[in-house]
Amino acid sequence: MRPTELTIAEGLAALERRELSAAEWAAACLDAVERLNPRLNAFITVTAEQAMAAARASDARRARGEAGPLDGVPLAIKDLFCTEGVPTTAASRILDGFVPPYESTVTAQLKRDGAVFVGKANLDEFAMGSSNLTSAYGGVENPWKRGDAPGVRLVPGGSSGGSAAAVAARLVPGATGTDTGGSIRQPAAFCGIAGIKPTYGRCSRYGIVAFASSLDQAGPFARTVEDCAILLRSMSGHDPKDSTSADRPVPDFRAAVARGVKGLRIGVPREYRAEGMPAEIEALWQQGLAWLRDGGAEIVDVSLPHTRHALPTYYVVAPAEASSNLARYDGVRFGRRVLRQGDDLRAMYEATRAEGFGREVQRRILIGTYVLSAGYYDAYYLKAQKVRALIARDFAEAWTKVDALLTPTAPSAAFAEGEKQDDPVAMYLNDIFTVTANLAGLPGLSVPAGLDAQGLPLGLQVIGRPFDEEGVLAVGGAIERAAGFRAAPEVRA
């Protein structure tokens, strides 16, 4: 088997059996990147030399019997994680030239466990978007093609589009992403791979470029649920440098994946049956429920009455927090500065931010600034945080009846670049099934479950109780086994 075909679990086993070296695995991935990235644009920065050096060091550790849980595994790192000594852009011009002198906690832990970083993956600028089209470094091509229109470039979803595309195209077996409103789960669904956003506080936010502090969470992408579990274990854990980090031990997530769903109660929230939802997605949802029923789970109808308010709530809270988090991008201490002859400090700020931020980012900053401005705080931000509390309460009540929920991940398969772009609100509707988990701080997993009539992947989403990633992974694993999703994209290593 070519190294790029290996899952993380298979690769670790092959490394252990000395059938493969980390250097070989990394070289195969770098070769795939070199061949396919010019087309896919999944990576902003490729760190080939560092990757080979890390791979060789990994092989040496393994030879000494000191291999860590991820030793030798090549990964793509979403370019939102600050990586020491490696340019970090957040896909924005405003961070031109920024080389962080520090490492994010999540990537430090991955390194600690022996992972090999192949490069920094493309994303929507500052993680704001559902298509990767807002990136200052250009869009990412979804490696999947429509059967009836194979020449049309499709989006990989967003904001973690580069991470998802890189994994789907087998450039790397795994990647990190972040999820604020669906930015791991939706691209995972669009790219036919697995992706999980853990409970808020499960992974540290230290060193991750902040978008919306009360919603952001790091999480893994991989082709299998088991691989996601393996990565999530290394990424998770209490961090004293993050005051919102949960002080909880990290369970063995991998062990949960094969658990099965016998005796579990799976909820079907009726409000997720959106008007105009494509029949194929409804059908896949029903199929997923049937698989779980066959596995011994009980299917229960539940109601989450405030679901329809989730998107507007999210689009008050997230921009508000972002408008404040992005105030530090001002051309004073790092990144790009735009200063014309005769400009004063204020003009420098205004020009730097106008030229450095793309349109979507500027829109969200302006919305956020407005909803926090004098006289509007109560009507918007405070109101939204109250509606958010109601949304969280809906879930808390659901957990008295069920152990997990099953829903579609996205309202459509991957769409074409060109569709939906001009209308911000239409673009926001991509997040309709995913934002609730961010607002309530709950773990959510997307699992590839089938293909639509065009041969494009569709995902199902599992949402679970706070800190019950194990339960979510168990349900996800059951769906994965039942679905037997073997399809692979047209564009791949």
């Binding site: 600050c82 502090s213 440098k241 919102t244 404040s324 600034t369 926090l372 401005s373």
Partner: protein
Amino acid sequence: MSYRIEGATGHWEVVIGLEVHAQILSRAKLFSGAPTAFGAEPNSQVSFVDAGFPGMLPVINRECVAQAVRTGLGLNAEIHLWSRFDRKNYFYADLPQGYQISQYAHPVVGKGSVEIELSDGTTRTIGITRLHLEQDAGKSLHDQHPTKSFIDLNRSGVALMEIVSEPDMRSPEEAGAYLAKLRQIMRYLGTCDGNMDEGSMRADVNVSVRKPGEGFRTRCEVKNVNSIRFVMQAVEAEARRQIELWEQGGTVEQETRLFDTARGVTRSMRSKEDAHDYRYFPDPDLPPLVLDAAWVEELRAALPELPDARRARYMRDFGLSAYDAGVLTAERETAAYFETVAAGRDPKQAANWVMGDLFAALNRTKRDIASSPVAAADLGALLDLMADGTLSGKLAKEVFEAMVDTGRPPAAIVEERGLRQVTDSGAIEAAVDAVLAAHADKVAEYRSGKDKLFGFFVGQVMKAMAGKANPALVNEVLKARLT
């Protein structure tokens, strides 16, 4: 007697409120582990958190919270066991994150009060509205380069307490007394060093004026005044400016002003439109600050004796006057020094020596009490040498000067210089006889009524004995010989 300013249309009353920013004494900053020491090389006391780098997050320093609680307790204020941090959003080069982490809606300390003493002997209670924790900003230097300002972030993130008073003050003197009292309390508690010249305590002065009996009129804020003297001057200058405006038929606009110390007037700050739209919202990087009631009680139990209580104790237990007690308790170090000297001795004598001779010596040698050339124990020993008759008061003063110069203990100096008081009556008698014999004419004059000459004889005897004779004995012997 109330303070009034005479205007063209009559008397005006001044209403003053103060917002004091006090830097907390701690080793590390409020939300980062960088150090807080003053005067270091630029940008050497800065962490990535303080510099607002991408992905950086705040983690609160427990000791800074404790210092705020201690200060609140010293201000007789309510401690809020639940409080919250908010972001105050604005752009400035010395504010790296583009927001200051502060407490807006729910401060850690609520209502309290302080007593101030005025020069006419009256006391007034000034209300405290609240005290909250917040970050300090960095420093901008505008005079280092023709076209650039320089930014040093060493101070960025240092913990501040913002202490807001009620608008209870009515004169420059009250404002000055309030500031002095705040400073004294914080220095006693060790929560802030109150060094206004170093910027560790700064005052924003809110001033309005009104005709007696009216409600409040519009106030202006005079920002960042950095000495008590300037605060008092600024109050008067701003009050007069406002009175003139009102009397000319104009209106006072609410605005922020600066005090021009050279010209003694306030002037408007450059227009800061939107400066007041700080878009406060709860900081999503920080859960609420929840304090354990038992922890607060531990802090309360461990508080040092506060200045007012100490002053009352000195008056009660040592019989000192309010004035003397006030002087001795003005600084904690002075009080500690005094108590060492007074322990087991006459407190009034101790008080006189500390406030008189010691303070004069400190003044002369330009030292403060913490670096006094005379140790408290040594001054105490000097008092003992007077009490046991070894030294007369006059000799003691001589010994004291030698102690100031050499730092040596009094017993050593007495021995070395042979300054022991002479109490041997035989020696005194001999000296008296010699003096009287040498001035027989004056003896005659004295005996015929010129009483004043007694002092002359005393002086001559003391001179003959190199000042070492016990004065009381000299008097006794002279009297006996002259009658």
